[in-house]
């Protein structure tokens, strides 16, 4: 078997999340590949939640459609999860608390373990029943119990050996329980990989690029970026929780205009409040990175569920026309790269960069061998400290490439006023008093086209603004952006193993797009767009840029994430 999906299910407060995190860590330590995702509601205690941890001996691209091993911590977990159980699935439960009659006669392998009794005997703490169940899982998939000890030691080492021993007792209770035997053999290769989620990878990418200021107002699923910066304040970054998203974006703009690499982040609701600030950054040509982690909308929506519904909004948010970069990382690893890259692009072209995450990408955990720290370089673009010309510094000098030299406070002779009103090369306004005068009309034309020219410059100088194609000679192509890409790749693998010939075209950068190259790549191909929204927003972007109309699509807006299996199934019904 190439992979096993373990789902821990229970109520909020049952320790579902911490058990999942523990399993991820132990498996990653043994060199297994891990892909894990959580399902939860907005309430903090009570309510159903689950953590699915998929383990494999080779790279994984989704958290897996079905459940191979279920740890049911309450009765609800049985009724709620039974539809997802695979044939032969193992169900671990405590017979003193949970009835499993509804699973009878279905061929599942029921593993009753007195989780609570063992937990109490080991530590006196009922929450340890998760650990007992984890012990059984380790045995089922053939992970040596010493790997668990190593992780627990790392986690609780300082609290003393007592806790470690209690944990070991609990885990052994499950591991050695009669009737529990190794059923799956997932081979780890012994390499220790990083296990992290998209928001963590993004935060580290930003940190590596020298982002020192992060402003936010808490909003799921972006809050963990704020938490990351807050918990790394001793590493020379300034996290700032502010009064609202208006403050978040405008503070980041303030910090950036003083020369610091700055970022703000939120979800769709907060991004709605940031819209005016986005235009300010664009107008005063101050670099800015904004993270928008999408969740199910509209309005407050489904607060803890994923969606890819905001890309058209991000591409068009704020009045008037201005160049911007919109990018949706396609994996945890790419979240790191995109974040690090974003600061260079934003500095180089003095445009806002919007990173489109989503709840699924922000929160799911993947193992990654190399994150790409060596590839991070810093380019601050036309940041200057000396005025080479006579007279006042021309901050908005009209240049061929549209990018003007930029200065920050503290440097003599480089002073200027950055104005949200239309201005001339010096930054002096042409609006209030002069609007409509012949020379002012000329200045307006010059300045607007100067800013807009940056789009051509970006397209000319950068290679990132085209989609990526896999299996160019395929008969059919799935077309994706952002976080759906990995699952689609998994689907391509499944379909091709069934004798079909599928390829994949995937977008990370969505704006601007190299229209010509994109059109050439897509032209004449049979395309199916796969997106986490109702209207096929990527297909609309493609039509807008290339005139190509994609007529078949797989769209999902139920809040849950795609898996390869799911996509493959839908594709089969579409093409047959």
């Amino acid at each position: 078997m190439a992979s096993v999906s373990v789902r821990i299910a229970g109520a909020h407060g049952d320790g579902v999340e911490s058990s999942g995190a523990l399993l991820i860590k132990v498996a990653a330590r043994t060199g297994m590949h891990v892909f894990a995702y959580r399902g939860y509601g907005s309430i903090i205690r009570g309510g159903h939640c689950w953590y699915q941890v998929r383990l494999g001996s080779s790279e994984l691209k989704s958290y897996g459609e079905g459940i191979d091993i279920l740890i049911a911590l309450n009765q609800e977990s049985i009724s709620n999860q039974k539809s997802r159980l695979r044939d032969n699935a193992v169900v671990i439960y405590d017979p003193s608390k949970i009835k499993v009659e509804e699973l009878d006669g279905k061929g599942y392998r029921l593993v009753p373990i007195p989780l609570l009794d063992i937990a109490i005997a080991a530590s006196g703490d009922p929450i340890m029943r998760n650990t007992v169940a984890l012990g059984a899982v380790l045995k089922l998939i053939g992970i040596n119990i010493e790997a668990f000890r190593e992780v627990i030691k790392g986690q609780f080492g300082r609290k003393g050996d007592v806790v470690v021993e209690q944990n070991m007792k609990a885990v052994s209770g499950g591991y050695d329980h009669q009737g529990v035997q190794t059923l799956y053999s997932i081979e780890g290769d012994g390499k220790k990989r990083y296990a992290l989620d998209g928001n963590t990878a993004l935060s580290i990418g930003a940190y590596a690029a020298g982002c020192k200021f992060y402003a936010a107002y808490p909003m799921t699923p972006a809050s963990t970026i704020l938490h990351w910066f807050a918990s790394h304040e001793d590493k020379g970054v300034m996290p700032k929780q502010v009064e609202d998203e208006l403050a978040a974006i405008n503070m980041a703009i303030g910090a950036s205009s003083a020369g610091v690499r700055a970022m703000c982040g939120t979800s769709g609701g907060g991004f709605s409040l940031m819209v005016e600030g986005l235009g300010l950054a664009a107008m005063i040509e101050t670099p800015l990175v904004v993270v928008e982690s999408q969740r199910s909308g509209p309005s407050t929506g489904v607060t803890t569920k994923t969606e890819q519904g905001d890309i058209l909004f991000a591409m068009h948010a704020s009045q008037g026309e201005f160049p911007r970069i919109v990018v949706a990382p396609r994996s945890v690893k790419e979240s790191f790269k995109v974040a690090a890259e974003a600061f260079n692009l934003s500095d180089r072209y003095q445009v806002p960069v919007i990173i489109m995450m989503d709840l699924y990408l922000s929160e799911h955990v993947e193992t990654v061998e190399v994150l790409g720290v060596d590839g991070v370089s810093v380019d601050r673009g036309k940041l200057v400290t000396e005025n080479k010309e006579e007279g006042r510094f021309k901050r908005y000098l009209v240049t061929e490439d549209g990018v003007s030299p930029r200065s920050v406070p503290g440097h003599k002779g480089m002073e200027f006023v950055a104005g949200s009103d239309e201005h001339n090369e010096l930054g002096d306004l042409v609006t209030d008093m002069y609007a409509g005068l012949d020379w002012a009309i000329e200045v307006r034309k010059q300045m607007h086209s100067k800013r807009m020219r940056k789009i051509d410059t970006m397209l000319k100088n950068e290679t990132v603004f085209v989609p990526e194609i896999f299996n160019e000679t395929a008969d059919h192509f799935l077309v994706t952006f952002g976080s759906t890409t990995e699952a689609a790749m998994e689907a391509v693998g499944i379909l091709n193993s069934q004798g079909m010939n599928f390829g994949l075209v995937s977008f990370s950068y969505l704006m601007p797009l190299d229209k010509e190259k994109t059109r050439k790549m897509l032209e004449g191909k049979k395309l199916i767009n796969v997106e986490g929204n109702y209207t096929g927003q990527l297909a609309q972007v493609i039509r807008m840029n290339t005139g190509i109309d994609i007529t078949q699509s797989i769209l999902k807006y139920d809040g849950e994430a795609f898996t390869g299996e799911l996509i493959a199934k839908e594709v089969v019904t579409l093409v047959k």
Partner: protein, 295 residues
């Protein structure tokens, strides 16, 4: 207007003509800020004047310092962000009553309680000037404006009281008709370490025909000459309520309150290592070390 020597004026002047109507109170405020900066000998490259949108918010342009002319109501977050990024700058916020007490009032409360070391000058003309004369949050009850032709039925805000309640550590009020006193209030505000607000009655001669220079002249008196104890928050709060209590017959100007408290920068962990903008980017090794947490 406040006296500034010609030489000093030249250094701080960009040559850009302000947009204000002849007689607008904002000219005095410009002169007051200039005098304060000149007196304090602050180099222009270390000054950042941040404004919002409104007549008053065109303040940065006549100056040869750095400036950001930002969005309506958002000058405080922009100013605070810049100050946190470079603590060595003298950051001055300059905007209108609509900007700061209306659309942006939330930021006033929060930056006051943060005690970010910036000096915020509000040109309070009790009207929306740039949008041609609508009611403002400080317009008097009954004020007849373009948007309240039958008289406003809302009570005016008490910005001094709000600033005090929010925890501003320097709270003063001035009047464009008394420029030397105003320059002094602004100067003390810049010198003060922490969040300073100076509410300046700055008459709009074009759209506010009630709150005129003469109207203010008949009513204002100086706290400094009235035995006010500016170290007492309760005395300050009582003074802030006096205007309404006297039905705007007596309006105190001057220093309401001043207290020494650690600034945001003084307490911030990261800033103990110097201004953010001067701190080095992480090395590859530092990034790799952080990544170890995830193994």
């Amino acid at each position: 207007m406040a006296e500034v020597s010609t030489a000093a004026k030249q250094v701080l002047t960009s040559g850009v003509k302000p947009i204000w109507c002849p007689g607008c109170g904002d000219y005095s405020v410009q002169a007051g800020i200039m005098k304060a900066l000149t007196d304090l000998g602050i180099e222009r490259e270390n000054v950042l004047i941040v404004s919002g949108i409104g007549c008053s918010s065109s303040m940065p342009h006549p100056f040869s310092t750095f400036g950001v002319h930002s969005l309506h109501g958002r000058l405080l977050p922009v100013a605070a962000g810049a100050k946190l990024a470079n603590d060595e700058l003298t950051v001055i916020g300059a905007g209108g009553d609509g900007d700061g007490y209306g659309i942006g009032v939330g930021h006033l409360v929060h930056n006051a309680r943060r005690n970010v070391d910036i000096t915020y000058v509000v040109m309070n003309n009790e009207i929306y000037g740039l949008t041609t004369g609508q009611t403002s949050p400080t317009s008097l009850f009954g004020a007849k404006t373009k948007s309240t032709p039958f008289g406003s039925i809302e009570n005016p805000e008490n910005p001094i009281g709000i600033a005090l309640a929010a925890g501003a550590t320097y709270v003063a009020r001035a009047f464009s008709g008394d420029p030397m006193h105003m320059a002094q209030m602004i100067k003390m505000g810049i010198q003060h370490k922490g969040f300073s607000i100076i509410d300046v009655f700055s008459p709009c001669v074009t759209f506010n025909h009630t709150n005129t220079y003469d109207w203010f002249r008949q009513r204002v008196y100086k706290l400094e000459q009235a035995g006010h104890d500016a170290t007492s928050i309760s005395a300050a709060m009582a003074k802030s309520l006096e205007t309404e209590a006297t039905n705007w017959e007596k309006i105190p100007i001057g220093l309401f309150y001043r207290v020494e408290k650690p600034t945001y920068s003084a307490l911030d962990m990261t800033l103990q290592k110097g201004p953010l903008v001067k701190q080095p980017f992480p090395t590859k090794q530092q990034v790799m070390d952080i990544l170890e947490e995830y193994k």
